[in-house]
Symmetry: C2
Subunit: 143 residues, 2 copies
Amino acid sequence: MVDKKIQKQFKELLSKEGLKMTSARLSVLDEMLSNDEHRECEEIFNALLANGVKISRATTYRTLDFLVKYEYIRKMDIGDGKIRYEKKLGHPRHDHMICIESGNIIEFHNEAIETLQDKIAKNHGYKIVRHVHQLFVKPINKK
Amino acid sequence: MVDKKIQKQFKELLSKEGLKMTSARLSVLDEMLSNDEHRECEEIFNALLANGVKISRATTYRTLDFLVKYEYIRKMDIGDGKIRYEKKLGHPRHDHMICIESGNIIEFHNEAIETLQDKIAKNHGYKIVRHVHQLFVKPINKK
DNA sequence: GTTTATGCAAACCTTTTGCAAATTT
DNA sequence: AAATTTGCAAAAGGTTTGCATAAAC
């Protein structure tokens, strides 16, 4: 179950938009905050059903959108035709390294790269709003 | 029209796979090599039609796949639900900076970042096969 | 009691596919 | 002549949408 404090903030965000706090929305929030995987909507939807939550795919999609908007979660696209969602709240900033053999997703963060990125944007007269940095890798010892 | 040398190499690559050189394939190659934009299949298909090339969407998709495989072009996905293709042959390695206000795509390259990336992968026991690095930016003077 | 949310199924949109007809070698 | 390619339209796959019913305020 979601922490009471978080639940309260969630309700306030919803109200601010004229939206209602429903059990479906709370279930999706709960599901997303208690899992650190990078999952597709379909997987999240199935996890909810498996936990006995009565919800539809449509509501799952709609709620994930809201959670992305308010930065509870992040939407990621590694270009394989599947969109994944991951927990963002209380999760440190990071980028992704994807093993092309196992499909494993490893998180990394490098301050020096971030600094260089900012410099590049600045040199062109821009500032970075967000970025995507993905390394597709394979184990060193393999051919 | 495509350079004779390139056309010959293209034909050889095709033969090597038991594929035939057709006017449709040559037209797509020509269209892709003579344009530096980052375009969707639909835009490329329409450009071909506008140039009087008789081709179908299906063949355009099929040929783009072949061109990606043999590195004449690159497939890119900036996560907006549209897949774009850009010329790769004779085009230097680069990453992308996308202006979220104008949609403009600016290319950049930074050797120091590449070195850091390689180091990160290596530290995890991996080597990089390819990477995606996209900076979503907005002009500095805007709010 | 109003208003918003939900579930369902249909619609969407881009990409892929099966197959008969056309083109290439 | 044999083999591959093409165009067409249908299928696919994931996401969105319209609408009547249900739930929240």
